[in-house]
Symmetry: C2
Subunit: 154 residues, 2 copies
DNA sequence: CATAACCTTGACGTAGAAGTAAAGTCTCGG
DNA sequence: CCGAGACTTTACTTCTACGTCAAGGTTATG
């Protein structure tokens, strides 16, 4: 239903849309962060919309959380598993196996959530410190201005 | 009033207290992230408590915000200026000059605050996404458990 | 004053994350 | 069917943020 017919993208387009270079896309593939994309007969890579989303996700994990690609790989593999679970959710499969997978998925996301929560909190702390500072400076500023009014420029 | 007499630290102690290596301390100095510390007659570096604080700050900027040392250097230089302003606050100096400095300081901190705010916000978004996900999984899990109760292991 | 523990500079090495160049292959519009 | 532009792999280079010696100088202590 989603990518039924086509909508395949070549590496150049993906690069443009994600803001990373082609080199980076190939690099991520090499490192196992992106699945091997399908190929045209001549060997040109063909990416899906999902891949685009994935790249965006990788970048967020990099920039926001400062994770290494190795760490991100783990996360991404976990996500992969989730996709699988989603896909398998309907089809008949060993129920207890699915339970196990789900259990693991929950574990992964919980850990991720822990990291994010912690960072978010520290971030808020920093933010408040800065606001405190700003208030101080602005207080000083008004004091300075009052001094100037009392004793104007010589 | 704070570090009146002494309380100077050698590089080894600073390393231990900050959790970075001596190499890293020298490296930060080289890169202009730490001021040139005073030295003993023989050339041994002597750090102040302030330097310790500074290193901690640098590390937070690195780990939390994921900034490069170059970016951190800018921030740190700005902080340096703030220290200066604080120090000069009482002594007689051109008032309008002080105004200018304060103005700039406010600008710096405002920019920093902007970065942190933005990151903090994105972080919260991520956090919520993860929570949403977790809820989904847990819903699935209970569904699965119900299926198991109805049709137990063959 | 010997010597262990600590420090100095200098130079080279490394892991992570790509950038860049070379030489050849594909695709597609005209 | 052909040429411009997009793509391929391979290989070497770069940049950041340190790590790791090496060879020697300094300091504190017995």
């Amino acid at each position: 239903m989603s990518q039924s017919t086509e909508a395949y993208l070549q590496i150049g387009e993906v690069a443009e849309r994600t803001g990373v270079t082609q080199r980076t896309l190939r690099f991520y593939e090499e490192k196992g962060l992106l699945r091997q994309p399908s190929r045209m007969d001549g060997g040109f890579r063909l990416y899906s919309e999902d891949d685009v989303t994935r790249v965006a996700h990788i970048r967020r994990l990099q920039n926001l959380l400062g994770l290494t690609l190795a760490e991100i790989k783990e996360m991404v593999e976990a996500e992969e598993m989730l996709q699988e679970i989603k896909a398998q959710y309907r089809p008949e499969a060993d129920v207890s196996e699915k339970r196990r997978q789900l259990q693991e998925a929950i574990g992964v996301v919980t850990r991720q959530h822990g990291i994010v929560s912690q960072k978010a909190e520290q971030m808020s702390e920093m933010k408040e410190q800065m606001e405190e500072r700003l208030r101080t400076f602005e207080r000083w500023m008004t004091e300075l201005e009052q001094m100037e009014r009392k004793a104007p420029v010589a």
